[in-house]
Symmetry: none
Subunit: 399 residues, 2 copies
């Protein structure tokens, strides 16, 4: 049996900072180490020397996590128990409210050929200004009896659709087949309760195609990740911490919002993220500090850019450490090896530092050293327990 | 919560080879290392250098597994959830069909003294030709009203008995007391539903003793592992892989058959196993490649013979690696330390190699190096997930 740490939470002034280098981890090839091993990271290495390192598996052995479950695990939520659809994540990130009974879906503006086959699932990664115009045309042109449709632009070709009306259900298969050369899938209910919703989505699709028929690239909306309103237990309810999120990108702001964090005003870059951390230091017990460029570089297959993104974060470490957190956790949400240009299942390095964390015999921060660190190798979800403990926020179990 | 990886399976051309050195692991004594540590294994060491190593616990801490659960774990099946009786395993290995309603049991031809006490549980490890003659006499001499009895010879003193008739149940305790100096146990139903079956088995025992009364060594059949028909989800159903088993010994062919593998024509030795792997390489996604001599030597308490058996498999590694699997997993199903001349609970070294496996800082394959490898120490069942991931066969979890 697993003990629910919520039952042990006690008041404490201890502060926690979770620094997430998105997609941090990689794997070593024949001729060189991982991005983190090759990066010059004197500040992270100093913390590794003074603290402890290890590895975590975000969801489980061999499992490649999406950003949602990977972050849920880092926040201490069981990522299998608390599954979030892309729609819910996107909505939260865009601060679009999904009410009980609503159905949200992630949409891609995409290109169909004359025969109705998908030729580009991202409409040539439509620039934001063109995409905003397409979204405006959709908003003006679509009307479905008995259903309110909210259409929001996220970034490039990515949009969010929220359907609101009586008797809707998210139990629908994706219309996005996730490949080209085939037509979009017809809206399909996975259980009969969603048959009406499938008809609503089919009508949305007909009208969207009509509205966009003359657009050279964005002439269809592919939908995936149908989801409904979620009410998750908040970080405060679970851990008694007043928590704040510092993140540039909507999706990470969204997942933080879903677990009840205060999402601080949107920063433009790492410097502005640091300024926010300083400014709000006294107001919160827990800070989620998100660094995206590591993942973006990994997704681009750009080893050197990922190294540079790691080194940029390294330069910010002294300022974070100087605030004196009781637990500073530096890790990734998942692996994005530049060899794969995609998320992967490889384990993720983690570093903990603080007055009660303890020091192991490792002096570098990187996969090959983390294998030998005192934190061992563990499910990502356990890091929250360790951080709470180091911040004095977990009482003794048993007499 | 544990995520069922079957929900993530996606098509991929990636190939997996699982090489099982049966009973591979051991433990180091005061004066020398384990059999694997002492063996000269340049080819395995080269893979360990290029790939990653670790340890697995087949079933759990301190648990000594039989061959059935140990292999089930390696195939990714929960060995506690999917328990197989020795009877079902033997039947599958002998390609004897166990229908729904049948009861199968493993039998030992054994020796009783004049007072009916067991003096040898294996009848002097009766040679195959003598045992076949004993089985023929049993077949000719035994007739039980309303019950068909199938008697098959497995190897040496080992036989398989399958009872077919109305109202049979496998809920019987073993008649084999697993020690000498005592009489066989009377057939005993563990629940009343098997009372009739206990009578059938008692009648079988009376007739078998009568038929074999004048045999100098094999004058009784000891029964254990009563079991019924099993329908297990297949490897294809669970993982979407077309799988093939390459194994010399019936029991391993049997367990592979129970999980739906194609069991390739029976090879006589390691060279013929390699030839099968080459011949069928294009026809399957997953190969289970079984090497028995390590376990046999360990069971005999023969350290040097076990070292030699490991070195023989090492010599086959370049040919296997040259086929270019996406995930080559080399491990044991359990420990058989020659100091114990028996299976044991000690953890089992594992090596993974392939283009997306990643490289750790270990350069040898052996228990003492595997402790420090990047695969860490984990339940044996997780190896299948890692292999599927490395072969590109698991989709991302969550958005």
């Amino acid at each position: 049996m697993t003990l629910d740490i919520a039952s042990l939470v006690q008041p404490s002034p201890g502060k926690i900072v979770l620094v997430v280098l998105d997609g941090l981890a990689g794997f070593a090839g024949p001729d060189r180490g991982t991005e983190l091993e090759e990066a010059h990271t004197p500040n992270l290495d100093a913390l590794a020397t003074a603290g402890s390192v290890g590895l975590h598996d975000p969801v489980g052995a061999g499992i490649t996590p999406g950003s949602g479950p990977a972050h849920m695990a880092l926040f201490g939520y069981d990522p299998v128990e608390f599954q979030l659809g892309r729609g819910a994540l996107s909505a939260a990130g865009l601060e679009v409210t999904v009410e009980p009974g609503d159905v949200a879906a992630r949409g891609n503006l995409a290109t169909l050929d004359a025969e109705g086959r998908i030729t580009d699932r991202r409409a040539g990664r439509l620039p934001d200004d063109e995409a905003v115009e397409v979204v405006r045309r959709l908003r003006d042109g679509i009307a479905i009896a008995g259903v309110d449709v909210t259409i929001a632009h996220e970034a490039q070709h990515r949009v969010l659709i929220v359907f609101r009306g009586e008797g809707l259900s998210p139990l629908l298969a994706d219309t996005d087949p996730q490949k080209v050369g085939v037509p979009p899938a017809a809206p399909l209910a996975t259980l009969p309760v969603a048959d009406h919703t499938a008809e609503v989505v089919a009508e949305f699709d007909r009208q969207a195609r009509a509205v966009l028929a003359d657009h050279p690239r964005a002439n269809v909306v592919l939908l995936r990740g149908f989801d409904s309103h979620r009410q998750l237990p908040s970080m405060y309810e679970r851990y008694g911490v007043r928590s704040a999120a510092i993140a540039v990108y909507p999706m990470y702001r969204g997942v933080a919002n879903l677990v009840g964090m205060d999402v601080l005003p949107r920063p433009a870059n790492l410097d502005e993220e640091l300024a926010l951390l300083r400014k709000y230091w006294d107001d919160y017990d827990y800070f989620f500090f998100h660094h995206k460029p590591t993942d973006s570089a990994g997704e681009d297959g750009n080893f050197d850019a990922k190294v540079a993104a790691i080194e940029a974060l390294d330069a910010a470490i002294p300022e974070i450490a100087a605030l004196g957190p009781d637990a500073l956790v530096v890790t990734g949400d998942h692996s994005t090896p530049s060899q794969m240009a995609a998320h992967s299942w490889h384990p993720v390095p983690v570093l903990m530092w603080g007055p009660r964390v303890g020091r192991d015999d490792q002096t570098r921060f990187g996969e090959r050293w983390c294998v030998h660190g005192a934190l061992g190798r563990r499910p990502g979800q356990q890091l929250m327990s360790l951080a709470l403990a180091a911040a004095g926020r977990l009482a003794k179990f048993g007499a």
